[in-house]
Symmetry: C2
Subunit: 355 residues, 2 copies
């Protein structure tokens, strides 16, 4: 596919003007509800134009509108990796569902930037053929986002919103308060008597990952000071050898393991069953996310991040930023939604030391 064929011709405002006996400028004014005020077009003329518009089923050409400087209620959606393959679905589907719903409510279409090439294992938003300018604004989705690209967008003044917290200065976002949610669960474990914690997390610099970590570390420090943090076993993992991660957790003597992803928690739970370790009697488990569509066989004590609501709120914020009639206050450019927790059945007091 080198170059596309030219789409077929359709009715234009010029033709509408001929049929209604007015000028193209008048058609445009009527179509955009600018027939009163400065334009001063009488009702009789306006009705005549509206009638022709209706009869012909005229629809404005979005490309012409864009070139004339008017937006088209098209929201770009950029995902830092493919959104639909089975491996990514659990991450992206709830977000896309929220975005789709919000877009529908707002009467917006979504432009998915699937042409973005992969460079060093990650997609690039800025590339030779990027079509950012067809969208009024853009939503960014992904665990880790390229800081240079974020800075580029901010410097360009191109309207966008990141889904999830971002450290880069000037980046508008809607986030989930993973830090507080995590801290609350750690606090519960502490109250139950746990003192030795293991923390298995995704080896990533993504802000949602860092926030969860901060929740763990800061709450432990608050509860038990530096020594409590020293006792914490932190395992950054790529999930490529959970067996080894499990062994490290057991070796540490931790009485509770905090796992970032529900998938990994399921696996650890299987290892526990295999090794005769009873959960939560002998080892408690806390999960900092929820299982995807596959569901889970265990009712983990966990965070329940409102990810669909998150994406929906991000979409609404972008719409507000794009609305010339909406004055978005600076503090509204960064929003954080609370992260509820589910009690579950995998957290109990530590077993009496028997080893």
């Amino acid at each position: 596919m080198t170059t596309s064929k030219t789409p077929s011709r359709r009715i234009t405002q010029r033709r509408i003007a001929e049929l209604a006996g007015v000028s193209q400028a008048t058609v445009s004014l009527v179509l955009n509800d600018k027939a009163d005020g400065a334009a001063r077009i009488p009702e009789e003329t306006r009705e005549r134009v509206l009638k022709v518009l209706r009869e012909t089923g005229y629809v404005a050409d979005p490309a012409a509108r864009r070139l004339a400087g008017v937006g088209n209620k098209i929201l770009g959606v950029f995902t830092y990796e493919p959104a639909f393959p089975t491996e990514s679905q659990d991450f992206y589907a709830p977000l896309l569902s929220g975005i789709e719903q919000a877009a529908e409510d707002l009467g917006c279409d979504l432009l998915l930037f699937t042409s973005a090439p992969v460079v060093n294992g990650s997609r690039r938003l800025f590339h030779e053929h990027n079509r950012l300018r067809l969208a009024d604004g853009c939503l960014l989705l992904g665990v880790e986002m390229d800081h240079a690209e974020l800075e580029h967008l901010v410097a360009d003044g191109f309207p966008f919103v990141a889904v999830g917290r971002r450290d880069v200065e000037g980046v508008p976002y809607v986030a989930i308060d993973y830090a507080s949610g995590t801290a609350a669960l750690i606090g519960q474990a502490w109250e139950l008597g746990h003192r030795r914690f293991a923390y298995l997390h995704v080896d990533s610099r993504g802000e949602s990952v860092l926030d969860r970590r901060a929740g763990v570390v800061d709450e432990l420090e608050r509860r038990g000071g530096a020594s409590a943090v020293e006792q914490l076993l932190t395992i950054p993992s790529l999930g490529d050898d959970l067996q080894r991660d499990w062994a490290a957790i057991r070796d540490s003597g931790a009485t509770v393991v905090v796992v970032e992803t529900a998938e990994w928690a399921e696996r650890l739970h299987e290892f526990a069953a295999r090794d005769g370790v009873e959960v939560p009697r002998q080892l408690s488990m806390i999960v900092l996310s929820e299982p995807g569509r596959g569901g889970g066989s265990v009712e983990f004590t966990r965070l329940s991040p409102p990810r669909t609501a998150l994406a929906s709120a991000a979409t609404s914020l972008l719409a507000r930023i794009l609305d010339p009639d909406d004055d978005v206050r600076p503090d509204e450019l960064r929003q954080t939604l609370p992260c509820p927790a589910i009690a579950g059945v995998t957290l109990a007091g530590p077993a009496e030391a028997t080893e």
Copy 2:
């Protein structure tokens, strides 16, 4: 959100022309590899322009290109219902995955028409603010599609491809051969000795539903003539009372039940277990689709429709239709992929009559 704010200004071909000391026309010719042939621009000039293009990171404005009659490698994607909510995911996710992959390979972006309003329970492609014209062409997804809209598209000459077979004249599509796949499974059951069939299907006029039904009916007629078809119990269902459907199946004395959706099959299997009906010893089950992401607990004898490959092929066909250098033969405008079957464990010979 009434009207969108104007995006920020960016570098244009005019500015590139100034920097390179040529005209805007020359920049365009160089950018689009038309510097040789009729345009006759020497290599030295061409290199000078390319250098400025590189240094400035210039990207063409897609709206201007569209208005000038050139495509932008943007494929519209229209789903007859929201694509991402949990209830729709099993249907749309594999399709979208195939589309995304093909789009990525082709360097295309996807424009999801989420602004389409819902009329009488279904989305309308043609509406006041449709942005069809921003896309080079469009993919249509859904079980049932509005025939009037399909005819409208055909009459307009707007390039599109339907995912799944469509009866409307002139509609290009890529389909799965549900009829043959279904017939093969019915044939197997017949060979095993089954003579009393029950068929539970979605109450819909969608072509994929009709094709499966044709597969059942035609194969039974072929095997056993009119009397075999007379013996067939056909249950059109909305899935709202599967208990009642199950009772009808049992009352019919059918020795094999053919179920259109994997979800319904799972439910019927539960009813069977509850009622002490052994599958497949006392009742065989054939499923005409596959479970979604949730997986299934039963290894049903079933069709395994290649839905991701289907959508990918449809995307490729659309790309070919859009490519001015690609002469698509009329017979290529309608393609049908074979539908493999999985043997599974739910089909065996009928039990000896014991009732």
